[in-house]
């Protein structure tokens, strides 16, 4: 009897939850689309990140004298330091644009779930980050005559970027609402993303030096765990960060 009642009532409930899921995905898509279109028209974020990333590589070149032997050891570290520095630039800018033009208030007024805003910003930040990485990798390969097109390395970069952006999106939306915002983001972000940097650098150098996958797996697992935990936590607390 009870069973029948629940089964008959569950179908409209499932329908409405399907519908709300669809609107959730749609609003995420709309936010990503807005960011990509704005970026395609202005190109200010990607160009700044790219030029900055290349300059960091240039500085490392002179700071470390990258001859063939140093390169072997230092490449993963240089790559990740470059991504981390260029990433803060992009995260800062992407959130500051929302704040300065009053766009964030508009987004918050829109009748969408707050977490949709978080995931929308997360994915568009991730896209920018991956575009920069996709350009830096071949440039680095050419400049230093190292082959970086290693499927293992690329998967590490993907996993590392997801975790970096998951925390970065949350912290940058906090940083833009403070007085010292441009200075604050790296200070807030870097101590938190140390596990990502450790695991990503170790796994990257493992793949580049052809170490057995069983020895790299702990680091890959660490990256996955970090990604899952921090996406979940950021999703839960994002409401508190944007609430007025």
């Amino acid at each position: 009897m009870v069973k029948a009642a629940t089964s008959s009532s569950s179908s409209p409930a499932r329908d409405s939850s399907n519908r709300s899921n669809a609107t959730f995905v749609k609003s995420i898509g709309a936010i990503i689309w807005k960011d990509l279109v704005a970026e395609l028209r202005s190109r200010e974020l990607l160009s700044a990140m790219l030029v900055f990333a290349l300059l960091v590589i240039l500085i490392f070149n002179f700071a470390l004298e990258l001859d063939a032997t140093t390169r072997k050891v230092a490449t993963p570290g240089i790559l990740w330091a470059t991504f981390a520095f260029a990433g803060t630039l992009g995260l800062n800018r992407s959130m500051a644009l929302e704040k300065d033009r009053g766009c964030l208030d508009g987004l918050l007024l829109a009748p969408v779930d707050r977490s949709a805003i978080y995931f929308g910003k997360l994915i568009s930040n991730l896209v920018f980050m991956l575009v920069v990485e996709a350009i830096v990798l071949p440039v680095y390969s050419v400049l230093y005559n190292t082959n970086l097109f290693n499927p293992g390395l690329i998967s590490v970069i993907l996993l590392g970027s997801v975790g970096y952006v998951a925390v970065g999106t949350l912290l940058s939306s906090m940083a833009v609402q403070t007085r010292t915002r441009d200075v604050l983001l790296p200070i807030l972000l870097f101590p938190i993303i140390i596990p990502i940097l450790i695991a990503a650098v170790k796994a990257s150098s493992g793949f580049l030096q052809g170490i057995a996958p069983t020895e790299i797996m702990p680091y890959i697992n660490l990256l996955i765990v970090y990604d899952v935990i921090f996406t979940a936590v950021a999703y839960m607390v994002f409401d508190f960060v944007v609430e007025e």
Partner: protein, 230 residues
């Protein structure tokens, strides 16, 4: 603001007495360690500071979550107090550890999991204080710092485990020691008693300081409110 409540006055005196007693225990009661001699004495305070620092770390994380749930500024005051006290005690832990490490390991600092994690925890706390400085609205300040301590309290243990994937040379006195650790020693019963006593003494000192800092936080809140009313 009322004068200090009676239990706090007792705690003040108790803290001083316990600290003096702890000093006496360490230097007069505990036996000398065979290989490390007097250098080993710092271990008692090192452990006690680390313990109190960890306690502050836990209190800060819990108070942050409670603030997010209840939106009551008293949890923010408690969180800030815990963060500040933990920051100081971890700094003492790091410095006392370095002083011990110089004669034992031959270097002030190594990039070992516990040392590195403690240093990163300090960075998280300093970042948290900088974050608070940049925000005027008390409610937003409390929310952001609660979110940040929460994120930090999840990230710091992960940092510890991620560095631990490498080998460690830090001595493990409780539980199984790794074979590569240097500077470990077997504790005699007298040493164990001393260690537990110093731990207890520092716990009382922690409570006293914590209480004072919470009172200070309440005073600051009062001043801020009166400024707004003027």
């Amino acid at each position: 603001m009322k004068s200090q409540p009676f239990p706090l006055k007792i705690l003040n005196i108790l803290s001083i007495l316990l600290f003096l007693a702890a000093l006496a225990m360490v230097f007069l009661y505990a036996p000398l360690e065979v290989t490390m001699n007097y250098v080993q004495k710092i271990f008692y305070f090192h452990i006690a500071n680390a313990w109190v620092g960890m306690l502050g770390f836990l209190v800060a994380a819990v108070a942050g979550v409670l603030y997010l749930v209840h939106h009551d500024l008293k949890w923010d005051i408690i969180e800030l107090a815990a963060v500040e006290i933990s920051l100081v005690f971890f700094l003492i832990t790091i410095i006392s550890g370095s002083i011990w490490a110089r004669p034992t390991w031959g270097t002030y600092w190594t990039w070992e999991p516990r040392l590195t994690t403690a240093a990163i925890l300090e960075m998280v706390y300093i970042a948290c204080l900088l974050l608070r400085q940049g925000i005027d609205d008390p409610d937003r300040r409390a929310r952001f710092s609660a979110v940040y301590t929460l994120i930090g309290s999840i990230s710091v243990p992960i940092t510890f485990f991620s560095i631990r994937l490498f080998r460690t040379i830090h001595p493990v006195l409780i539980g199984a020691a790794s074979t590569s650790s240097q500077g470990s020693f077997d504790m005699t019963p007298k040493m164990l008693v001393t260690m537990l006593f110093v731990l207890g003494a520092f716990s009382v000192i922690f409570v006293t300081l914590f209480w004072h800092r919470i009172r200070l936080g309440q005073l600051i809140q009062l001043v801020e409110q009166q400024k707004l009313e003027e």
